[in-house]
């Protein structure tokens, strides 16, 4: 377990900013306790300081995970968010999309959200902005990227994609085989 380097930190924050905007700072300077990011085998974990101290006594070979995994660095240095970060994304999300019950399951299988399934969208979403997807009962289903800005979405034909799928909670069932965890 080691702290992130400068580059890694920058990459991470850039990625997070896509979804959360300036609220990224709130992730570090929290009211209850200071949290930090640590790296275990290319995966970034977000943990409180006390938890970090507790985990320091565990040997490197035996340690599997600490706290919450946010995502993974690829071999080329790019950072990819995992579904496990959804809680924080949805807490601080800037742009949200609500999906109709009929196409809930489709999104959970990994498909993109088409205009047919779109129920609501936050205003002024720029194109390719990071977006968190919710069901009508306000359960966070996953996140993705807005295919079109909000205005353009209105002029789309019904089968056009509104949100490009990146990650959904169905991966908790599918992901164990994919070496997600």
């Amino acid at each position: 377990m080691r702290p992130l380097t400068e580059d890694e930190t920058r990459t991470l924050f850039m990625k997070l900013t896509e979804y959360m905007g300036k609220s990224v700072e709130r992730m570090i300077n929290r009211s209850d306790e200071r949290h930090c990011f640590r790296l275990i085998k290319d995966r970034v974990y977000y943990i409180s300081e006390s938890l970090m101290k507790a985990a320091n006594s565990v040997r490197r070979e035996d340690l599997l995970h600490v706290g919450v995994c946010l995502g993974k660095f690829s071999k080329s240095g790019k950072f990819r968010l995992h579904i496990t970060s959804l809680e924080f994304l949805s807490q601080y999300a800037k742009y949200k999309v609500w999906v109709k019950p009929s196409s809930e399951m489709s999104f959970l299988y990994g498909n993109h959200v088409s205009k047919n399934g779109l129920a609501r969208m936050t205003e002024n979403t720029p194109q390719y902005a990071g977006v968190v997807v919710y069901s009508m009962s306000d359960i966070a289903l996953g996140f993705g990227v807005a295919a079109q800005s909000t205005e353009h979405c209105q002029s789309l034909d019904p089968t056009g994609n509104v949100v490009l799928h990146q990650s959904d909670i169905g991966e908790y069932l599918r992901g164990i085989e994919d070496d997600m965890f």
Partner: protein, 600 residues
């Protein structure tokens, strides 16, 4: 036909009573018998037989109240009885007698015939009752070995085996009166064991073990319940949802559910579900976890507090770990350990799904945790790997794959794990000493009471009340073994009693770091191993010798010594080895009290 006595027919039909006695007598010949019976049943004495005749006539006439009146030769004896209700005892017997003397013969004869018929019936009924009593008290013949040999040549239908099982249980229930004189009790029990193993598909040695723990009839209930599945139960994840909200959103999807029990505020029992419970969006967003009712009990017993440092030694796949985290409101630290990395992947996934932020997952060998984290934790949960004899309903292969030897190997591992856990506890935690819970999903004594009793001897701990009142207390004695009395504070759960998986929970508090037999530890371990071996041997020998003299072999001397040392929790007296006897009040007094204490 059913002309009841006390029927309030209008009294105005007095005149009409004179009508058609003859006709009605024929018609009412059936009615007579019924009213005869009814009148007999209502305790009319034979003195009033004549009045009953009159009653019948009255009855029958009341039934035919609309027929026209006419008089005939019977006028003489037929008297209007307008004021006479059948249930009143104020009958004018005398009047009737006088008038009816002459003509009574006809009626009397008939009534006497009916009486005789009744008596004949009664006798037949008595005879039949005697016959059935005889049949039931017929001595059940236990097949001898020769007969059993013959049985091997043919295919015995399960129904026959089952009826034999039930007969044997009946005999054992009232052995003195129902036994065959030349057969011993153990022969019946042995046959029962063989039959039950064949009926339900168990290894005979497992069945024998159950019978020794439960007794014959309860064993049948246990194996029967182990063949049926337990209800599906989910646990609300209070970090993300409330039980009410979860219940309503699941019901919207068509699931029918109920609260689990009054001892659980987060459990829900799924009765029926059109959608897969393990794949709803609520499940995927971590609102609940599939967990059996029995698995919730050890965590409830442990009752971790927010801010504690907790270790879960066999955590995979993370059901109990997440329950601990939700009780701690995501404050504190939990180390979730398990031996196998593949299984730990599922733990990691569940921790993330359920929103647990305080988990550290690792893959140590639990036995070494005592050395790696000495005196570190406030609470420890050890849900030890076991033979799974209590969860046969979920994995029927246990019936044939587990042998008693497997069970004993597990017992050895569990003892090591438990000692390591006690070493990892911080006895200065919160002024009271670290608390741990030892639990298994097995019903065997080897893996439960024996392990806990062993730990009592080897470490300075005490067993405290598990806090689960709805379970059965643990065994304090089993066969020749005698355990410390505080073992009664542990709790057992059975599928046939509680409709939960078979489970065992023991709550232990660490008093200090001292190890009573420090210098002798390796020797003691050897002794324990030897004794375990001897037990296995004695077990085999008992089986063989029992058939010879029909009585269980008396315990060998070595095990007698074990009995004495296990009776009290203080270590066996080692003064003769030149060790300074500790007269420290802290050491002696609490221990003596502990031998008599029943609760914390």
């Amino acid at each position: 036909m059913g002309q009841r006595r006390g029927s309030s027919a209008p009294k105005g039909k007095a005149r009409q009573k004179k009508s058609e006695p003859e006709e009605e007598r024929k018609i009412s010949s059936e009615e007579e018998s019924s009213s005869e019976e009814s009148s007999d049943n209502t305790e009319e004495s034979e003195d009033e037989e004549e009045s009953s005749d009159g009653n019948e006539a009255e009855d029958s006439e009341k039934g035919n109240s609309k027929t026209p009146l006419f008089s005939d030769e019977n006028v003489a004896w037929l008297k209007p009885k307008k004021s006479k209700l059948l249930d009143s005892e104020e009958e004018d017997d005398d009047d009737e007698d006088d008038d009816m003397d002459e003509e009574e013969l006809e009626v009397e004869r008939q009534s006497k015939l009916l009486d005789m018929e009744m008596e004949a019936e009664q006798e037949e009924a008595d005879a039949e009752m005697r016959r059935t009593i005889e049949q039931e008290t017929e001595i059940f013949h236990l097949p001898t070995e020769d007969e059993l040999e013959q049985e091997k040549n043919r295919v015995v239908p399960p129904s026959e085996i089952r009826s034999r099982v039930e007969s044997i249980l009946g005999v054992l229930a009232d052995f003195k009166s129902r036994r065959e004189h030349n057969r011993s009790r153990s022969e019946y029990v042995d046959q029962l064991i063989i039959d039950l193993s064949e009926l339900y598909g168990y290894l005979p040695e497992l069945m024998e073990y159950f019978v020794s723990m439960f007794g014959p009839s309860e064993t049948l209930e246990f194996v029967d319940a182990s063949d049926r599945p337990r209800p599906l139960v989910i646990r609300t994840n209070t970090l993300k949802a409330r039980r009410k909200d979860l219940a309503s959103s699941l019901m919207k999807r068509g699931v029918s559910l109920d609260p689990l029990a009054n001892w659980s505020k987060v459990g829900l029992k799924i009765i029926e579900s059109p959608v897969p419970i393990g794949a709803t969006p609520e499940y995927l967003s971590g609102h609940y976890m599939l967990q059996s009712a029995a698995s919730m009990c050890p965590v409830l017993s442990l009752s971790p507090q927010p801010g504690d440092k907790v270790l879960d030694m066999s955590a995979a796949p993370g059901g109990k770990t997440s329950y601990i985290a939700q009780l701690m409101r995501n404050k504190g630290a939990i180390i979730a350990n398990d031996l196998k990395p593949e299984r730990q992947k599922a733990t990691v996934a569940n921790m993330h799904r359920l929103g647990v932020k305080i988990a550290i997952t690792c893959t140590h060998d639990g036995r070494k945790l005592g050395k790696k984290f000495p005196r570190t934790f406030d609470r420890i949960l050890l849900d030890a790997p076991c033979s799974g004899l209590g969860v046969i309903s979920r994995d029927p292969s246990v019936k044939v794959q587990r042998t008693i030897l497997d069970v004993q190997k597990n017992s050895h591992l569990q003892k090591e794990l438990l000692l390591a856990a006690i070493d990892a506890l911080n006895h200065k935690s919160k002024k009271s000493g670290g608390i741990m819970v030892y639990s298994t999903c097995s019903v065997s004594v080897y893996e439960n009471e024996e392990v806990v009793n062993y730990a009592l001897q080897k470490r300075h701990i005490k067993i405290i009340d598990a806090g689960l009142d709805f379970g059965k207390p643990g065994f304090v004695r089993y066969k020749h073994q005698r355990f410390h009395p505080s073992v009664a504070l542990t709790r057992r759960f059975y599928p046939h009693v509680h409709n939960m998986d078979g489970f065992f929970v023991a709550k232990i508090q660490k008093l200090s770091d001292r190890k009573p037999e420090d210098s002798l530890e390796p020797q003691e371990k050897q002794e324990i191993d030897d004794e375990a071996e001897k037990e296995v041997k004695a077990h085999e020998e008992n089986k063989q010798k029992r058939k010879a003299d029909g009585k269980p072999i008396h315990i060998k001397e070595n095990s007698k010594k074990k009995v004495r040392s296990e009776h009290l929790s203080i270590p066996p007296k080692k003064q003769n080895q030149g060790k300074k006897k500790k007269t420290n009040a802290k050491v002696t007094k609490p221990r003596r009290h502990r031998a008599q204490a029943t609760d914390v």
